[in-house]
Structure formats: C-alpha cells, structure tokens
Amino acid sequence: MDKASDAFQEGLRRFLAEGGYAWAERSGPPPPGVKILKTAHPPRIAERLCEEGFPLIYIAAVRRRDSSTPLEEACRRGEAVCYVYGDVEWAPELEHRCRPVTFYVDVKEEKKALEALLLYIAKTRSLPWVAFNREILRIVGLCDAAPNICLTEEAVVKKVEAMRKQLTPQPPEPPRSLTAEDAWDSSKTDATADVTAEADDTAETQKTENKDAAAGVDKPHTHKPHVPAVRLDPAVLELVRRCCGEECVTRLLACHD
C-alpha cells in the first residue's frame, strides 16, 4: 500500500520538476481553497489506510496577486486563490491519525500550468471531466478548447439525441403512382421495417422466429426494403464517455441494443 502512494508522490515530483513549476512540498493538511473536484472521498475512507501508514497527498495550485508572499502563507492568509486537490476530503479528525503531505504549486504566471496540472490529475487518477469543479474547467479555458466537456448532462443528452436522429435513416417516400390508400399502407409497412431495423444483429434469431410465425399469413407486401442496422457513431460514444463517464456509455449501449 505504501509503495503505491510513494509511486504517486514520486510521479508528481517528477511531473512538477519536468514541467518547470515553482513548488514546495510540505507535510501538513491542505490550505482552505477552491476544491478542484466536485466531491472527494469522505474522510472515514482514509482512516484504515492511514493506520497502515498511507500518506494523504494534496495539491494546492496557488495563484497569487502579489508574488512576494510565500505560497503557503498566501494560501493561509487568503491573499491568493488556492485550487485544492485531494482524493480524500480533509477533516480535523484525521489530524492525529494521518500523515498529510501538501504540494504547493505556483500557477501565477501561466494558465497553461494549471491546465497541465488538471490534465495530469485526470490522467493519473482516471477521472472524467464531470468529476471536476466546472468553474475551474472554465477558468483554465477547457470550455473554450473543448466545449463538450463543459456541457451539462441534459445538453449532452440533447446532442446525442440529435446525432442519433441524424444517423437514423429516413423512411423512403412512397412512389407517386400509388393512390392515397396504397401510400398509407406502404407507409405503415415502412414504419414496421424501421422498428425492426433498429434492433441489433443479436436479435436475428428472434426475427426468424417472427418470420416463421408470419409465414402462415398471406400479406400483399411481403418484400421489405433493406435498411442497414443503426450503429452509434464511435465519436458520439467517445463524447458520451468523456462527458458522462463510462457508466453512461454502458447504459446507452444497453438501451440501444
């Protein structure tokens, strides 16, 4: 368990050094500030891990107005905006049980520094953008760079619905030579064809059963136009995965099947 935490700590040190950040590592709880994640794990989760000697790693990205104040001081005095990241929410009751380590990172000069830090956290902790505080995503400019990650859930749902409608093939228009009644009949059969087309290949066996059952009945229009099975665009799925998380994709696929 210790090894895993050290790997994260080491990796973070390497990342900060290679990225050219000004940073300071202090043992102690994180300063008060703006939470980078929407919700962190509750403190009780950390208790057992702390007993095993697992250190709690926090990152405080500090944006100072006056660069003369040390990073830690600026955060404590409220003279800087501190964006705080931690897997576990810090609570006073953890003070005597846990070993917190806070990395104070200076991000005053460049917004890009904060953006890179967020990307690093998202990557190493496998977090989707929905887990992050949306105001911070806006601050670092991710909303402008990739507007989809800043859309709210219902906006994503609307977008996916619109894309799905685009992908669904339109029913073919009835030929003009038909009378109105014939056209009505053919449109009904087309509609049924669409419904069956929406089902996936896995439902093929069920279809054959239906066909067998229908074989006994004489129907005037036995030929159905071939409509390819609708598949979700991988780009849409990727968008859903990024914006709503893995579970959303699974649900969507299950619903689609």
């Binding site: 905006v81 949306r134 105001e135 995503l137 601050i139 909303c143 219902e154």
Partner: protein
C-alpha cells in the same frame, strides 16, 4: 538628478496602482450585464483595471473581452476577481459576493399594473444569482425557482447560460413579456409579484439587467406600459404601491 526623479515617479505610480481600490457604484450583478459602457461609468477604470489584473490569468486583456468572459461564465468570475479590494457604498456587497454570499431576490422593483394570477409560476430568484456556482446553490434554486428548474434542471452558470436557457425555456414562458415587462412583473404567484421573472425575461432578451439599464437611461420598453419605468426613473416600487389602471383593453 532628473533620472532619479523619473525613477521615483514611476515607483510612486506603481505604488498608487497597488493601493488603488475599486470603488464601484453598482452591485455585483453588473457582471452579467453586457454593456461595456455601463461598466466604464458605474465601475470606473480603477475597478476595471483591478479586474483586468485578475483576468490576465484567463487570457483576457481588454474591457470588451472581460465583459464577454464575465457574461459567458458568471460563476467563474468569483475566482477571477479573488483578491480585489473594494471600497465605497457597495463594498460589503462585493466582499460578500467574493465570499460566496449574494442576495437572491430581484434587483429591479417594477411598477405594478393589474395582471393575471399564475400560481404555477415560481421564479423568485434573480438572474444575478448565477454569479454563484449552481452546484453550490442548487437547493435554493429548487426552493425558490422551481419553474425554471423544471425546464433547465442544471443551470450552466459556468458556461454560456444565456444561450442555453434561451434554447430550453418554452415559448409560452418567454411570451409572458409580450404584454410588457411591467405586466410580467405584476403577475401574482401565491400573493407575490414576479419582479424576478420580469428580470429574467429582460435579461434573456437583451443580455442586460433592467435596473442597470434604468440607471444608464437605456431601458428598452417592450410595450407602451413599460414606458412608465422610464418616466419614473427614480421609482422605488414596493409591494402595495399605487396600482396603475389596467392595460387589458389596450393590449389584451
């Protein structure tokens, strides 16, 4: 000797800039008011420079871009402006805002006319409340503006809320302003007037807030009954204020 004098002057100028306080003549709701002229006149350049100092971080370097950024992401402005010092009669409001406290109610008290009663409408929260992140204030929105949340369950306070809300609000709700903002504000919902609703409709139409437009003499009436707002610029309305004759015959 002269060089020294110039060096001193530059130093003093720098000191002045650091000591320069923002003294706004308006409440924080101006941050969702898309009118750079109003920012110049009501905030003044001392505030704008202080705001730009913080906004440099997000790649904003002029007033127009600042106004655009602020209106498109109201709830992120609290982080952009953090550390700014305020003074003057609105100091407390701005400091409270940076601490995450903001008044919920309508900023504009419209004059009242006889209007319909709609108990199903419940939007008693001003658009200015979008300056605080929706995730932090969701409970209040649910309690005080559930009609709005019925159509927009997740107010995107962080990114282009106006575009998004405009697209999702049903036309029948937007059409309430067809008889005028004054009429919309006079609709009663459970014995309360709908000033906040009128404020929303005005903001969605113009991206500006009515009380600031009144200050700037830029209020845009929708119908003749709205002109009453302009004729009584210094109107401080109260519930129970003298009621105007009905406009039903004229606009009904």
């Amino acid at each position: 000797m002269q060089e020294l004098f110039y060096a001193d002057a530059r130093y003093l100028r720098l000191c002045n800039r650091r000591l320069m306080m923002c003294r706004p003549d308006v409440d924080p709701s101006i941050l969702i008011h898309q009118d750079p002229q109003a920012w110049e006149e009501l905030l003044g350049w001392s505030c704008i420079e202080a705001f730009l100092e913080g906004a440099k971080f997000v790649g904003v370097d002029n007033l127009d871009a600042l106004v655009e950024y602020s209106v498109s992401s109201p709830s992120a402005m609290r982080l952009v402006l953090a550390g700014t010092k305020f003074s003057g009669q609105h100091r407390q409001e701005w400091e409270d805002y940076l601490r995450g406290k903001l008044e919920m109610g309508a900023r504009m008290k419209f004059p009242k006319v006889e209007a319909a009663r709609r108990d199903d409408l419940w939007i008693q929260i001003s658009p200015a409340y979008m300056l605080l992140p929706f995730d932090e204030t969701k409970r209040r929105w649910q309690r005080v503006a559930y009609t709005l949340l019925k159509y927009v369950p997740d107010i995107p306070t962080h990114y282009k809320p106006r575009e998004f809300i405009s697209a999702l609000l049903p036309p029948e709700l937007r059409a309430l302003s067809a008889r005028g903002y004054v009429w919309a504000a006079s609709i009663k919902s459970r014995d309360r007037y709908n000033d906040a609703l009128a404020e929303w409709l005005y903001w969605l139409d113009h991206a500006r807030l009515p009380h600031i437009d009144v200050k700037m003499d830029k209020f845009e009436p929708r119908t003749p009954i709205d002109s009453f707002v302009l004729s009584r610029r210094r109107f401080v309305g109260k519930i129970g204020a003298p009621t105007l004759p009905t406009n039903q015959g004229q606009h009904g």
